[in-house]
């Protein structure tokens, strides 16, 4: 199975991609997934990650449904993980 990661805003600029596909066999902890992505996109990790968490000001969303930040939260292996700014205001 594959977790589809969609980057928005600054995350998209730093990774220089709109999506990344992460193979997974079973649910993966959010922290593990972010760390894995950090290895793939070091520039993004340097700015947006603090260990295995997103920095203050950034947030993740699963399947467009629920926002998550706890690194232990399990992400299904067929989910879409959206990574975006936590600041929705315009």
């Amino acid at each position: 199975m594959v977790i589809r990661v969609e980057f928005f805003g600054i995350a998209r600029r730093r990774t220089q991609t709109a999506t990344a596909l992460v193979p997974a066999e079973g649910p993966v902890a959010l922290g593990t997934l972010l760390s894995q992505l950090g290895q793939q996109f070091p520039e993004w990790a340097a700015e947006c990650l603090d260990g295995d968490r997103l920095r203050h000001g950034y947030i993740a969303n699963v399947d467009g449904r629920r926002f998550v930040s706890d690194p232990h939260e399990l992400i299904d292996d067929n989910a879409a993980l959206l990574v975006m700014s936590a600041d929705a205001g315009g």
Partner: protein, 615 residues
């Protein structure tokens, strides 16, 4: 020259303030400098808070907003002129001709700095000049002069002409043709930024004022200048960190793709939450296609302003147009238009003529749906038609034909079409909804409904609750009400300090940080809890003003369209009316108001609101 007298001030004046405001009566040709007591300044700070207090003192809330007696308040704040980043802002506060309720809007830049050097913390204007005029406040001296051929000119033309005539030391807040013609959502413009919402431009136009021009030399002292400079340096460094990168590099327009993905981007007058062609309008695509420059308000280290080149234009800065999320949503997706040239052109027209983009786009999109449903006979006004959008904007500003009805906003137009139209008119209290689909962001839906100035995302701030794990954005509960209150309180504090809301993620703890700033500026030893209470006081005073102006509980409501029907493109996004009603009650309870949203005298006493006018 306007005769100006000074009333004596016998109390202490805290650092950061002048301790007085200037009241100008255009009918009598008189100005009075009146004292502001320290306890008033400490209770209401500045900006929105102080402006609301002055509005309550200056006039009767039932007065027609365009009558000469209606006051228009320009309120500064203790932080204006300090080295703290994003603090060069002022608030305009008045009764709105669009909503007939309180309206407070903020604007940035040099006007705030120059106005504070005039030696006052606020300016209150009442009356009506005998002919189209410019009000000049020159270091406390006040004069009126004929606007002459400035009347009829666009906002940037007016500012440019005033700069040439008076020189760069003077700063101007101006109206465009929309304000002159009393369009209910006309803006007051300064340096390309606008006090956008609720029609302050029409209020200034109703006073026959094309511009207010300020210059001064009087400075306030700071209580602890050395420590303040240190704090300002630290804050400036934090303002350049990751929390504000979005604003610096992409601007607010980057919200388009995110909100579209979450089915929260209002499209075709809220008939859908996503717009197939959204990518064409997003800064991520605009960037590669046309020249792009960044700009910033005076005294701001973030610089969130992004300007994109208009096609067929040259390469000078004048050929670039400011792009914000709300403009792209309202003049793009909401009207079903994806052609970037058309949308940028419409943004430019609104900026030049002094029209609020959200209300202009919202009213036009509503009319487009009425045409689609056969309720309005204007076959040219179709979703997706760029020429229809540009024609409608021109008609609004000329008040020509259908444009005259559109110039009064969607609620007024809906009332003329009947109850079925009111159900889909995108407004609360008459103020058009901003770019967040209420069914997909339900804490914000609550914030929009209960907001004192109507459907407003800046005063509410509840969008960030929906963008967090603390709420289910598609399932409103009463628990969300407390968070809606907190976010609204934070906004009230930022708007009264005044600091830009885009700085908030760079602060560790808003209340503690604000208490420190105020201590270094004014010398007050304020606790975070005192500031929490200040925010509650300000919001309750706005509510009291609305009650005096005729507010009734049924105004804290969304249009029927949003209830009990799922969003067509997201079946999980359904706002249950029962849950919403319960959340409004929970909100009122969390504010200490009665179940129906009234304010009892005991609360007024607790909050220190007993001297806030009774009219």
């Amino acid at each position: 020259m306007i005769d100006t007298v000074s009333q004596p001030h016998d109390g202490p004046v805290p650092a950061g303030y002048h301790g007085r405001y200037l009241s100008v009566d255009l009918d009598r040709g008189r100005g009075v400098t009146r004292p502001l007591r320290e306890d008033v300044l400490r209770r209401f700070l500045g900006g929105s808070g102080l402006g609301t207090w002055l509005l309550c003192q200056a006039g009767h809330a039932a007065t027609d907003p365009l009558a000469p007696a209606a006051p228009l308040v320009f309120a500064l704040s203790p932080l204006v002129g300090s080295p703290l980043t994003t603090s060069a802002k002022f608030a305009l506060v008045a009764k709105s001709p669009l909503t007939h309720r309180i309206n407070d809007s903020l604007v940035s830049s040099g006007f705030a700095l120059a106005a504070k050097k005039c030696g006052c913390d606020a300016l209150v204007i009442q009356g009506r000049a005998a002919e189209p005029s410019i009000l000049v406040i020159d270091d406390g001296q006040v004069r009126l002069q004929p606007a002459g051929d400035l009347w009829g000119r666009t906002c940037p033309e007016t500012e440019q002409a005033l700069r040439e005539q008076f020189g760069p030391e003077y700063q101007a807040a101006v109206i465009g043709p929309a304000g002159e013609r009393l369009v209910s959502y006309a803006t007051v413009s300064h340096a390309g930024r606008h006090a956008g919402r609720g029609g302050h431009g029409a209020v200034l136009g109703s006073k026959n004022l094309k511009a207010v021009l300020v210059r001064g030399t009087q400075r306030c002292a700071w209580a602890s200048p050395g420590e303040l400079a240190e704090l300002a340096r630290a804050l400036a460094a934090r303002s350049l960190g990751p929390a504000t990168a979005k604003y610096r590099e992409l601007g607010t327009a980057t919200n388009l793709l995110v909100l579209d993905r979450l089915h929260a981007l209002p499209t075709r007058n809220f008939q859908s939450g996503s717009f197939g062609d959204v990518a064409r309008l997003a800064p991520e695509s605009l960037d590669g296609q046309r020249s792009h420059v960044r700009a910033s308000c005076v005294a701001c280290t973030i610089g969130c302003e992004h300007r994109y080149q208009l096609r067929n234009g040259g390469s000078s800065a004048g050929d670039h147009v400011r792009v914000e999320y709300e403009n792209l949503f309202a003049l793009g997706a909401l009207c079903g238009i994806s052609d970037p040239d058309t949308v940028l052109h419409a943004c430019r027209q609104c900026d030049d003529w002094g029209l609020d983009t959200i209300s202009a786009g919202g009213t036009i999109a509503f009319a487009m749906e009425c045409v689609e449903r056969g309720w309005l006979d204007a076959p040219w006004l179709r979703f997706g038609s760029g020429s229809a959008l540009l024609t409608a904007l021109a008609k609004i500003v000329r008040r020509d034909g259908l444009g005259d009805a559109l110039a009064r906003g969607s609620r007024d137009l809906a009332r003329s079409l009947g109850a079925k139209a009111l159900a889909i008119a995108p407004q609360v209290k008459g103020l058009e909804l901003p770019g967040y689909e209420p069914r997909a962001m339900q804490t914000l839906a609550l914030g929009l409904a209960v907001g004192t100035r109507g459907a407003d995302h800046n005063r509410s701030g509840a969008a960030e609750v929906d963008f967090s794990e603390y709420a289910n954005r598609r399932g409103l509960t009463t628990a969300a009400a407390a968070r809606a209150v907190e976010s609204e309180d934070r906004s009230a504090l930022l708007d009264s300090l005044i600091l830009c809301r885009f700085l908030r993620h760079a602060l560790d703890d808003l209340h503690a940080d604000a208490a420190r700033m105020l201590r270094l500026v004014t010398g007050w030893d304020m606790s975070p809890d005192e500031l929490r209470q200040t925010a509650r006081r300000i919001i309750t005073l706005k509510k009291l003003y609305n009650i005096r102006a005729g507010w009734t509980p049924d105004e804290d409501q969304l249009p029927d369209r949003f209830f009990d029907q799922p969003l067509p493109d997201d079946p999980h996004a359904c706002l249950a009316r029962d849950a919403f009603t319960a959340a409004v009650r929970a909100y009122n309870a969390a504010r200490g108001w009665t179940e129906s949203g009234l304010v009892d005298p005991q609360l007024c006493s607790q909050l220190g609101l007993l001297d806030c006018g009774s009219q």
